[in-house]
C-alpha cells in the first residue's frame, strides 16, 4: 500500500517535459517500429562480409568482435586519408544550423538527433577526440567524445534514420553532403558486422541473380512475357520484348520492382508500349535485371560489385548505349559513380536517339540516358501520338524523387512529359518540390515493414504537401519516377492521405499513347475503365 495517497490535483500534475539530456550523452531506446532488423548471417556469409551472427539491436549484447574499437578507428583513419571530402566534412562544419530543420525525419519525429548537423556530430565528436589535438587534449570541452559501445548503438539508430536524400545539403552554405557522412558511418558499422537485413539481403540476392528479389533469369523471362500478354489484352497489340538480343542498339535497364510489384508493373507496361510504338531496337538483360543498387546503402565496394553487371552486359550484348528507366537511387549510382568505378565505357557510343537524332551530350561519359529525357525528346519532336484525355480520371501531382532531382538535376523533363500526357496536373508547394523535394521517408534501405512507424514519421512532410493539393485540387494520383517511392508511398498515403494512389510517369504515357493498329481502349493500364471514348486523338 502506498505510504501517502496522492490527491487528484497532484495526480493531474504529470510533467510531460522530457528530461534534458546533453547530446553528447549517447542514449538510444530501441522502440519497436522505429528500427530495422539486423542482417541475417547467411547474407553476410554470401557476400563475404565480417562478423556474420544472429543478433538484434534491441538486445544488450551485439556480439561485436573483441577489437571492434580498433577496427572502427582504423576505418576512420583509412577514410580520412582516402577521401579529401570526408576530412573536409569533418572539419568545416560551423554548426550554423541551416540544415537543422530541413530533414524530413527531424520534422516528422521531433528528435533533435535527426537534425543533420547533430546526426553528423555523432561521428564528428569521435573524430575530434581521436584525430584532432583539440579533442584529444580538451575532451568534451573540445567537442570530443569517447568511442563506446553506446556510441556504436547510437550510430546504428540514427544513421539508419537518414535516407541519404541530401535535402539538408541543398541548404548547407559549405556544401557538406550529409548523405556522404551517412555512407561513411554505414561503411564503418559494416566493418564490425553492424548492418540491416533490408540492405544486405537484396545485396546478396543481387550479387547472385542480378536483382534484389533473387529472380533467376528464366523467371525474369516469364515475368516479361506475362507483361507482354497483359499489354496485348489491353491494347490488342503483341509487342516484342527482346531479352539478350545481341547487337541491339540499346540496353534497357529497369529496377526489378517494375516487373513484379504493384504499382510499378503498370509503368513497365508503359515502357513496353512506348518501345514498340517507336520501333526501338532494344534488349533487356536477365543478368542486368536490376538498375537499383543496394550496395549504395552498404559500402562503395558493394556498390561497385553490384553495378559491374551493367557495363559488362552492355559489352557482352554489343549495344551502342544504355537507357535507364524509372528508379531513384539507381540514378545516383549511374550518374555520379558508374563511370569512375566501373568505367570508362569506351566500348559504347555517345547516346543518340535513333528516333529523333538528338545527341544526349549530358550522358557522354556514362553512356546512359534517363527514360524521362528520352521520352521528353520524343514528345518535343512530335514523334508519338498522345491522347491525354485517357488520363482525365486522374488529377495528378508530381513527387520529385530525391536522387533524380538532387543527384542528377532531372527536374523539368518529367514535368514536360506529364503536361503532355494528362490534362490535370498540379504542383505541390514550392518548398516541397524540385531540389527542395521531401523524401518518401523510406529510401536507402529503410523501407522495411518493421520500420513502419519511423517511415511514417519521415514521410509526414511529403504526405502533408500531398494532402494540401488533394484538398485544394482534388488530386488523386501522386506520380513519381522511383521504384522505392512506388513501393513505399502507397502505405504512407494510406495512413496520412487516404484516397491518393501512386503511379509512374510511363504508366501515364502508356495510357495516353495512341498505338498504331491498337484496339479501342476500354481501360487504362490498371484495368480501370477509361473516362472517355477515344475519338479525335490529339496529335502532338
Amino acid at each position: 500500500m502506498l505510504e501517502k495517497m496522492m490527491k487528484p490535483e497532484e495526480l493531474a500534475k504529470i510533467d510531460h517535459t522530457p528530461p534534458i539530456r546533453g547530446w553528447m550523452d549517447p542514449y538510444v531506446k530501441f522502440k519497436k517500429g522505429a528500427w530495422c532488423y539486423s542482417a541475417a548471417p547467411k547474407n553476410l556469409k554470401y557476400l563475404d562480409l565480417p562478423n556474420p551472427r544472429e543478433w538484434s539491436p534491441d538486445q544488450e549484447n551485439w556480439k561485436l568482435p573483441e577489437n571492434w574499437k580498433e577496427i572502427i578507428l582504423d576505418g576512420i583513419r583509412e577514410r580520412i586519408e582516402k577521401y579529401r571530402s570526408f576530412r573536409l566534412f569533418m572539419d568545416i562544419c560551423v554548426r550554423c544550423g541551416a540544415c537543422a530543420d530541413k530533414c524530413h525525419y527531424f520534422i516528422g519525429s521531433g528528435d533533435p538527433k535527426n537534425m543533420p548537423v547533430l546526426r553528423a556530430e555523432l561521428l564528428r565528436s569521435v573524430y575530434r577526440k581521436e584525430f584532432t589535438p583539440a579533442g584529444k587534449y580538451l575532451g568534451k570541452w573540445g567537442g570530443g567524445r569517447d568511442l563506446t559501445i553506446d556510441v556504436i548503438k547510437e550510430w546504428f539508430y540514427y544513421f539508419f534514420q537518414c535516407t541519404e536524400c541530401r535535402r539538408c545539403s541543398v541548404f548547407c552554405p559549405y556544401g557538406i553532403d550529409t548523405a556522404e557522412v551517412t555512407m561513411h558511418v554505414r561503411e564503418l558499422l559494416n566493418l564490425i558486422g553492424v548492418n540491416i537485413n533490408w540492405v544486405c539481403e537484396p545485396a546478396a540476392n543481387c550479387f547472385r541473380t542480378g536483382n534484389h528479389l533473387g529472380v533467376p533469369p528464366h523467371a525474369f523471362k516469364d515475368n516479361v512475357e506475362f507483361a507482354v500478354d497483359d499489354l496485348k489484352e489491353i491494347t490488342g497489340i503483341e509487342v516484342n520484348a527482346p531479352i539478350h538480343k545481341k547487337g541491339a542498339e540499346v540496353l534497357v535497364i529497369v529496377p526489378s520492382a517494375d516487373y513484379f510489384a504493384n504499382p510499378h508493373y503498370y509503368t513497365f507496361l508503359g515502357y513496353l508500349a512506348l518501345f514498340h510504338e517507336i520501333g526501338l531496337d532494344y534488349t533487356f538483360s536477365a543478368y542486368a535485371s536490376e538498375g537499383g543498387n543496394f550496395g549504395l546503402f552498404h559500402s562503395k565496394d558493394m556498390l561497385k560489385r553490384l553495378n559491374a553487371k551493367i557495363y559488362a552486359e552492355a559489352k557482352r550484348l554489343g549495344v551502342k548505349w544504355i537507357l535507364g528507366c524509372e528508379c531513384g537511387h539507381m540514378w545516383r549510382v549511374m550518374h555520379q559513380y558508374m563511370d569512375t568505378i566501373n568505367g570508362p565505357a569506351d566500348f559504347l557510343e555517345e547516346p543518340v536517339s535513333p528516333i529523333t537524332g538528338t545527341r544526349f551530350e549530358n550522358a557522354a561519359t556514362t553512356k546512359m540516358v534517363h527514360i524521362c529525357e528520352f521520352t521528353a525528346d520524343l514528345i518535343y519532336n512530335k514523334k508519338i501520338k498522345l491522347d491525354p484525355r485517357r488520363n482525365d480520371h486522374l488529377r495528378v501531382t508530381f513527387h520529385d524523387s530525391c536522387n533524380p532531382a538532387r543527384a542528377m538535376g532531372l527536374i523539368e523533363e518529367p514535368r514536360y512529359v506529364l503536361k503532355h500526357v494528362c490534362n490535370h496536373f498540379y504542383e505541390m508547394p514550392e518548398n516541397t518540390i524540385r531540389e527542395q523535394t521531401f523524401c518518401c521517408g523510406s529510401g536507402s534501405g529503410l523501407g522495411s515493414d518493421e520500420n513502419m512507424e519511423m517511415r511514417l514519421r519521415g514521410g509526414l512532410p511529403r504526405a502533408n504537401a500531398v494532402n494540401y493539393v488533394k484538398e485544394k485540387h482534388g488530386v488523386n494520383l501522386l506520380a513519381c519516377i522511383c521504384a522505392i517511392d512506388k513501393a513505399t508511398l502507397p502505405p504512407l498515403l494510406e495512413y496520412w492521405v487516404p484516397g491518393v494512389e501512386v503511379g509512374g510517369i510511363h504508366e501515364l504515357v502508356g495510357n495516353a499513347l495512341v498505338m498504331k493498329g491498337e484496339q479501342e481502349r476500354t481501360t487504362d493500364l490498371r484495368g480501370e475503365p477509361l473516362p472517355v471514348k477515344e475519338e479525335d486523338s490529339k496529335d502532338v
Binding site: A12, D101, I107, L213, H218, N431, L460, A487, P490
Partner: protein
C-alpha cells in the same frame, strides 16, 4: 476584471487566445527541448507540419468544445493531431495526454474568475466534456495503431502482387490465404529459383 454576470463559456471565449497559446506551448513542451523552438517558431505549414497541425487543430477543437458534444463527435481535428502522436516516440498515455493539459491551463488561467463567479458547476461540466474528448482521443489512437498494423499486413501482398497473382494462376488448388502469406519465396521455388 469585472466578471459579474459572466458564465464560464463567456470567460473561455474572452480568454481564448491566451488559453490556446498556453495549451499549444504545453503540448509542444512534450517534445525534446532542442526541438521546442523549431516547433513553436517555424510558421510555414510545409516546413513545420507538426507545429502547424497542432496549432490549427487545437483551435478548432477548442471551438468544438465550446459548441458541445455534437460538434466534438463530428470533428476531424482530434484525429489529425492523434495521427501524428500515434507514430511518434510517445507512449499511448503520453500521446493522448495533451487533452488533459487543457484542464490545467484553464484552471491556471481562469482560477481567480472561476472563484469569483463561483462557476464550479460549469467548470465540472466543461471538464467532463474534456474527459469525453480524451476518451475519443483514445479511440482515435487505437484506430491509428490498428491502421498501421493493417498497412503492415497489406504490404506483404502488395510488394509481390504480380508474382502472387501469377503463382495463384499456376497452382492447381490454390488456397488464397496460404498463398498470401507465402510471399515471393514460394514463387521463386515454383520457378526453380533458390528462394531467399
Amino acid at each position: 476584471m469585472n466578471c459579474e454576470g459572466l458564465k464560464l463559456k463567456d470567460l473561455l471565449v474572452q480568454r481564448r487566445s491566451v488559453i490556446l497559446s498556453k495549451w499549444f506551448n504545453r503540448i509542444i513542451e512534450m517534445y525534446p527541448s532542442d526541438t521546442v523552438n523549431f516547433l513553436k517558431k517555424e510558421k510555414d505549414r510545409f516546413a513545420n507540419p507538426v507545429g502547424f497541425t497542432i496549432s490549427q487543430e487545437i483551435e478548432a477543437l477548442f471551438q468544438d468544445l465550446l459548441k458541445g458534444t455534437d460538434a466534438i463527435a463530428k470533428s476531424t481535428s482530434l484525429g489529425n493531431i492523434i495521427r501524428i502522436m500515434a507514430v511518434q516516440d510517445f507512449s499511448a498515455s503520453k500521446g493522448i495526454s495533451f487533452v488533459f493539459s487543457l484542464k490545467q491551463v484553464i484552471k491556471e488561467e481562469l482560477n481567480h474568475e472561476i472563484n469569483s463567479v463561483q462557476a464550479f458547476e460549469e467548470l465540472w461540466e466543461f471538464e467532463s466534456e474534456i474527459d469525453c474528448l480524451c476518451l475519443a482521443a483514445f479511440d482515435e489512437y487505437m484506430k491509428c495503431r490498428e491502421r498501421i498494423y493493417e498497412i503492415k499486413a497489406n504490404q506483404v501482398t502488395h510488394r509481390t502482387y504480380k508474382l502472387l497473382e501469377r503463382a495463384n494462376s499456376i497452382c492447381e488448388n490454390p488456397d488464397e490465404s496460404e498463398m498470401a502469406g507465402a510471399g515471393c519465396e514460394n514463387l521463386l521455388n515454383l520457378n526453380g529459383g533458390n528462394g531467399r
